[in-house]
Symmetry: C2
Subunit: 134 residues, 2 copies
Amino acid sequence: MAMTNAFDIDARDPTPLYAQLERAIRFAIATGRLGIGDQLPTVRQLAVNLRINANTVAKVYAELERAGVVETRRGVGTFVREPDSKTLTSRRRTAAQEQRLRVLSERFLAEANMLGFSPAEVVEHLRRRVREGE
Amino acid sequence: MAMTNAFDIDARDPTPLYAQLERAIRFAIATGRLGIGDQLPTVRQLAVNLRINANTVAKVYAELERAGVVETRRGVGTFVREPDSKTLTSRRRTAAQEQRLRVLSERFLAEANMLGFSPAEVVEHLRRRVREGE
DNA sequence: TTCGTTGTACTATTGTCGTAGTACAATATG
DNA sequence: CATATTGTACTACGACAATAGTACAACGAA
């Protein structure tokens, strides 16, 4: 059972809860903390854990279902789906994307720095979290 | 002329515009793109540039003023203030900041993932950058 | 079959976000 | 002085976010 639950949600963050949760779940899958076939918490259970409304969780699950990230079966649960072949192949690596990653990274490091984290600390933080799921 | 180009905000991002703009301005100051005493664009001008409502810009300026980041003078403009001494010293490491870093990390990795970069690739990219930057 | 669980689908309510428009106060400039 | 510019304050409106509550549909298991 994938019971490392409680995704990172911050009600004080101005980003909508549903957006935070969707990111957190995709993050968990991308880092391997949630593997293919793993069951996600039930709508009601996760709502209780995160102290948010069940409707919000249901909205996220429905969106992830629509995106093909998870598969939901009534009366059973919600499970991580195998990545679609299209999702994997339709991504060319271009110089423009490298550039955008650099910009993204710079902004990320700067924002973390505003929170009082040094670049080295941030890298270490990320390294640990990405490692968690393998 | 102060700031020619606009700040980086995205209406498609679920994060509220005012939050994006506030972050962008703080970011510009933190990275030195906006120096102490520099004038920010006027409320109306920035609204036109970013194609958002003037009220939204005004809300951000008011918040930054309240936070002591900028100084506003009617009929004149809005200017970057000198950092308050308290602002510098009161940066203790708290659990809330750790939580914010986690949320920030997830947003970052999610965005990078949409560019086609896996979490492991992103971490490696960052690791190299940080090492080079020093 | 019955029962409980899970996802889904509604209604209703509250608060926030963003826009549009107007008016006003303070300042610089001619 | 008058005028334009800048920030501020306010109303109103539509859309969305989040909540609470209820009911229903599909499935597994007893």
